[in-house]
Every structure is written in C-alpha cells, then in structure tokens.
Amino acid sequence: MGHCILTVDDSSTMRQMITFTLKGANFEVLEAGDGVEALEVAKGKKLSLIITDVNMPRMDGITLVQRLRALPEFRFTPILVLTTESDASMKQKGKEAGATGWIVKPFSPEKLLDVVNKVI
C-alpha cells in the first residue's frame, strides 16, 4: 500500500499542481480547500504527510497545524507548510505550531518530491 498525502490550499490551481506532482511519483493524494475541510477529510484516514497553505478562508494553515497536532492520530504525522509567506516570524509561528518544514511558493516538482521523500 502506497503513501497517502493530504494537500490543503484554497487555490485549486495549487492543489492541482501539488496533486499532479505527487501522483506522478505514485503517491495517493487527497485535497482540501481550507483548514476546516482538511480536518473533515483527514478524519479516520491514515495519512503519511500533510501539505498546507497558510492564508486560507475559514481556517488558516497555522491553526490547522495546531488542531492536527492536538489529535493523537496526527501528533507525529509530518506536516509541511507551503506558502508565499517567507518572514522569519511567520516561520517561527509555524514551527511552534508543530510544522515539520516550511516551503516558500512557488515550488519546483523536483524539490517538492525531494522534501516529501525526506520527511515521509
């Protein structure tokens, strides 16, 4: 059974690009448009990795990371933040929330797969 990855972004284009890249490397991919939907999609799933944006409607990425870390089944699941934000203070917030890594948009497929394979 392959790895299942959840990608969370309010931009459908970003979700498609991430999904395209990951599926090309034989990963199973689930999608969510914001933090609220992500929590619903993740419920009961065995996820190998979660990739989330920061600025999203309803629930932002940092809050999502905090909420996921509060759930026992996702306490140790790698979570990568993929965002346009590159400020050190914002990164620190992500780190404190429990994120595994920080990737600044735009991503290159090769680099993303490299990071994904490192953290899975």
């Binding site: 890594g101 920080w102 948009k105 290159s108």
Partner: protein
C-alpha cells in the same frame, strides 16, 4: 494619502487643524480641495477595481490554458515512453521460444557460437578426411608392394615351369627308369601353369584395387577442400549478417537513447510549467491585497465626502474635521499592510526543514 494629513493620523493633533479652524477663508478652500480630492480618489478606485478584477480573471484564464497544455504535454510524454518500450520490444527477438532474454547482442553471440561450433566440427571432419587419405595412401603402397611380390611369384612360376620342362627332358633320356619322374615333372608343370594364372589374376585384382584407391583419394581430397571452403564461406556470410544485426541494434539503441533524452527534456518542461502555473495563486493573493487597499482608499474618500456634506450643511468646521480625522485614524488602524507575495519572480522558493 492626502497632503492635508502629512502627520500621523491616529496619534496627536494634525497641524492643519490648528492652522485653519478659526478662519472662514480657509474653510472654503478646504471644501474645494476636499471635494476635489474625494472625487479624484473615488475615480481612481472606480478605475482600479475593475482593472484589477480583470487582471485576476485573465490570469485565471491563462492558468486554465496552461493546465490544458500541461495535460497534453504529459500525454505526449507517456506516449513517447510507450513508443520507446515498443521499439525495445520489437528488437528483443528471442531465440528460445517464450524466453524474452534474446536481445540482439545475445542473438549475435548465439549465431557466432553456433558458427564456431560448425566450423570446428567441419575442421574435425577435414582432419578425419586427411587421416583417411593417409590410410588410402598406406593401402596403395601396400598394394604396390604386393604387385612386386606377385611379379616375384610369376618369376618363380616361370622357373618352376622351366624346371619341370628340364625334368621331363631328363626323364625322356632315362627311358623306363624316368617314367615316374616324368609324371612328377608333368604335375610340377601343371602347378606352375596354375600358379602363373593365379598370379596374373591377383595382379589384375591388385591393379583394380589401386585404381579404385586412387579415385577414392581424389574424391577425399575434393571433399576435404570443399568442406573447409563451404564452412569458411558460411562463416563469412554469417559474420556479415551479425555485423548488420549489430549495426541495426546500435541504431535502435541510439534511437531509444534519444527518445529517453527527449522524455527527460519534456519532464523538465513539465516541471517548469508546474512552477509557472503557480503564478495564478501568487498573483491572486497580490490582487486580493490590492483590492483590500483599494477598499481602504474608498473608505477614505467616503470620509472626505462626509466632511464635505457637513460643511455644506453649515456645520462647524472644527468638529467636522475632527470627525474626519477620527475616521481616517480608524481606517489607518484597521489597515493590514502586508505583502501577500514577497517573491517578485517565479523561481522556486526556499525550503526549511525544522
């Protein structure tokens, strides 16, 4: 920001208020300028908002087009991979039934191995033929020696005949005393005649045998020579065939390498497209920030319009301006001034693992 509020709006009194509040002449001037600025700001916002929305719409449309291009490109890559595999499969001709291990190199090796075996086998046959020739030669020599012996036998028979003749003459001279001797001489003469006839007969047979051996010898020489020629010619033709096969194999290998190289390039291009497509998200976030800022500008303009209305209605200038100042302070405080997208290019961003 209006030039009337060059200082900090939210903190401390604006210098312009202290300067103009008591003067009626300033009031009119302020009204004119405020109305003018409000109209200008509204005009700018009304112009900018649909422009920015249009940019957003165009960018999304461009993203859709790029997505379609990406799908087509991906399909082409898969098709190319499939073609490359097909070329390889066509060149993998097995010599061992369902065992698909017989690629061109293995075919060449098999043919060369078979040919070597064939040539070695022919060489062995040729070697045996040479030995056969030697054996034939030995028989021929023995036959020649037998001919010599037969000649000697003929000579003995001749002398025996002469001896019996002399014995008969002597028996005649001895009259009745030589009668028995004459019988013996007659028998010796008959034996000599039979010996001569037998010798001649054997000589004929030996001659025939020698001639047959000579013909056999000629045939064996011809076969030995022909075997090697045929083997060598066959080997030469087969080597040429193998060479042609190897050349064809190299061509196909080169073609497959080119196909793979091309596939790599296409994959790289797909990577660029994936990275480039993310401009939709980046631009969208930038535009949303711009629209928010434009909303602030609109609220500022509306605050100015409120001032104008109050002053036209004859309200005292000082509280009206104070109200405007307060409103502008609220707008300023509510502004979230952050750049949604820091990167000005579509180069891949940094990665930081905690």
């Amino acid at each position: 920001m209006s030039r009337w509020f060059s200082g900090t709006l939210a903190t401390g009194p604006a210098p312009v208020l202290e300067a103009m509040a008591p003067e009626d002449g300033w009031r009119e001037a302020l009204l004119r300028l405020a109305a003018r600025e409000a109209t200008m700001l509204e005009g700018q916002v009304s112009f900018l908002t649909p422009e920015l929305l249009q940019v957003d719409s165009l960018v999304r449309e461009a993203a859709g087009t790029l997505e379609d291009a990406l799908k087509t490109l991906n399909k082409s890559v898969l098709q190319q991979h499939s073609l490359a595999r097909e070329v390889q499969a066509n060149m993998s001709i097995s010599l061992e039934g369902d065992d698909h291990t017989g690629e061109a190199a293995s075919i060449s090796n098999t043919i060369m191995g078979t040919l070597d075996g064939f040539v070695n086998h022919m060489a062995e046959i040729s070697g045996s033929t040479v030995k056969l020739v030697e054996q034939v030669e030995d028989i021929r020599e023995r036959s020649e020696r037998m001919e010599g012996m037969l000649e000697e036998l003929s000579e003995i028979a001749g002398r025996t005949h002469l001896l019996s003749l002399n014995a008969s003459i002597e028996a005649a001279h001895a009259r009745q005393f030589g009668a028995g001797f004459a019988v013996v001489a007659g028998e010796v003469s008959k034996l000599a005649d039979r010996s001569t006839a037998l010798s001649a007969n054997i000589q004929t047979q030996v001659l025939g045998t020698r001639q047959a051996l000579e013909r056999t010898d000629a045939h064996v020489h011809a076969i030995a020579s022909k075997d090697m020629n045929v083997a060598l010619q066959s080997k030469g033709k087969s080597e040429a065939l193998v060479q042609a096969l190897q050349t064809s194999n190299w061509i196909v290998k080169d073609l497959v390498t080119q196909l793979e190289e091309n596939a790599k390039n296409i994959t790289q291009q797909v990577g660029h497209v994936v990275r480039s497509l993310q401009f939709e998200d980046l631009v969208h976030q930038t535009l949303m920030a711009c629209l928010k800022e434009l909303g602030n500008l609109m609220e500022q303009a509306q605050a100015w319009q409120a001032l104008e209305t109050k002053l036209e209605a004859g309200e005292p200038a000082a509280p009206a301006l104070a109200s405007l100042e307060a409103r502008l302070g609220e707008i300023e405080a509510a502004r979230v001034q952050f750049r949604a997208v820091k990167s000005g290019s579509l180069a891949a961003g940094d990665v930081d693992l905690f």
